[in-house]
Amino acid sequence: MWRATRRFSIFVCSEQGISMIKEFIESVGRYCLFLKMVFRKPEKWRIFWRQLLVESEKLILSSVLLVCVISLFIGGVLVIQIASNIENPFIDRMNVGYMLREILILEFCSTIVALILAGKMGSNISSEIGSMRITDQIDAMDMMGVNSAGFLVLPKIVSATLLSPLLMLLSLAFGLLGGWVVVSLTGIIGPNQYIEGIKYCYNGFYVIYSGFKMALFCFLISSIASFKGYYAKGGSLGVGTASTQAIVTISILILLFDLIVTQLMLY
């Protein structure tokens, strides 16, 4: 442990380490400036609302099917796994439903679904904006006196952040439905026991906590993917690099913020 710490501190003080840290701080700064540009007052509210509808359809509505299918299957699988792990006759079978609900609400419906959306939404956003950047379309917008960041990015961030908690609720509903389908098809536990378990010790705050996490994660997804795309350079290869970097950064940040938010809200 001591050795590792020493090695780490030597690396941090080396030239390479310092330049890495510098780069990191620089990109955080640029990200903040970018957000400042995005959150300028829209030039025309009518255009903003129209774009908001377009983006909601593109980012949220088009993810509904994916989220439903994944939740349905994971819900079913989890029920089988949980049931096969508590064969003990002293544990009430109702706990299968209870545990499924807790897993879904606390972690799956927000964090895991957000990680899946990071791939879908993130690559969609960063490649769209990145290809507009490298074909000068963003410069063309700026040249018309339009705030390109505001026009392109603000509707994406707003719709992703505000509407994603609905995806989380949808995922919860379909996860529970998946569990119920498996329960009623296989009869591992009685359907009534399952329903009872789902209702057992229900804590509404957990849903709020999960919805909040989802909104936060989708804010990260939309803003970072936009940021990477907006500053993409180097032709179509650069667009590819930008969207890869965006998704890696987003995934790490989602896990990090999951830890922080959980510590802050649940402990």
Partner: protein
């Protein structure tokens, strides 16, 4: 009128533009010529404020570009039309929506007025019956025309064209040249054109600046270009 004084621009440690001073007059096709990679696009993008110059000043009439606030710059840009090298039409919009895009943001016209103006611009550049096509369904020449139509949509005082005829056949490119020249004279615009096409230099060049490795080496009109003394320019012309 646009006036550039002692303009310097570099990327990192590589100097791209060095000590450029030039003046562009209204109603004239001002040309910037030079080999590929000589810094023409960078000059154009610096002129319109997409890149920050390292030093030097750019005057639009009596306004200094460097001392403008964000809102003033936005106002100025609404008086500028720009045709990009690759047209830069918006993929997400049809031809007519592309042309109405600047109007949506910068005017409070009714939809009918906007469509009327867009039709007028499209007519002016001889694009008809393509209102509802998307840019990727158009040929290169058509894209350029639509790009010009979009650039003149708000009746700009200044028109910038980055290689308006690169990648086009000689016939289409001379049509585009004529079009730009006509529009310039018709609306008394200050037009700046980047090109390395000898034909357009001869036919529509009113005021020509030759750039080599980021330096302005020669300036004059199309009559004087063949008798110019500058050795780099002679080399450039012979290669053509």
């Amino acid at each position: 009128m646009i006036k550039v004084e002692h303009l310097y621009k570099s990327f990192g440690n590589t100097p791209i533009l060095q000590d450029i001073s030039i003046e562009y007059l209204p109603g004239k096709c001002n040309m910037v010529i030079g080999a590929s990679g000589s810094g023409k696009t960078v000059l154009l993008k610096t002129l319109i404020g997409l890149y920050e110059p390292d030093s030097g000043s750019i005057w639009y009439g009596t306004e200094d570009l460097a001392s403008m606030t964000y809102d003033q710059k936005k106002k100025l840009r609404q008086r500028i039309g720009m045709l990009f090298q690759a047209s830069a039409l918006f993929d997400f919009a049809t031809v007519i929506d592309n042309i109405m895009f600047p109007m949506d943001f910068c005017t409070s016209w009714s939809r009918r007025q906007k469509i009327e103006r867009a039709r007028f611009c499209l007519d002016r550049v001889n694009v008809r019956d393509s209102d509802h096509k998307y840019p990727n369904e158009l040929s290169g020449g058509m894209q350029k025309r639509v790009g010009i139509a979009r650039a003149i949509a708000l009746n700009p005082e200044f028109l910038f064209c980055d290689e308006p005829n690169s990648g086009l056949d000689p016939y289409t490119s001379s049509l585009i040249d004529e079009l730009i020249s006509e529009i310039t004279k018709e609306y008394n615009m200050t037009t700046v054109i980047n090109t390395h096409d000898m034909n357009s230099i001869r036919t529509i060049g009113d005021n020509i600046g030759f750039i080599c490795n980021g330096r302005l080496l020669w300036q004059g009109d199309s009559g004087g270009i063949s008798s110019a003394e500058c050795p780099e320019l002679r080399k450039f012309l012979r290669i053509q």
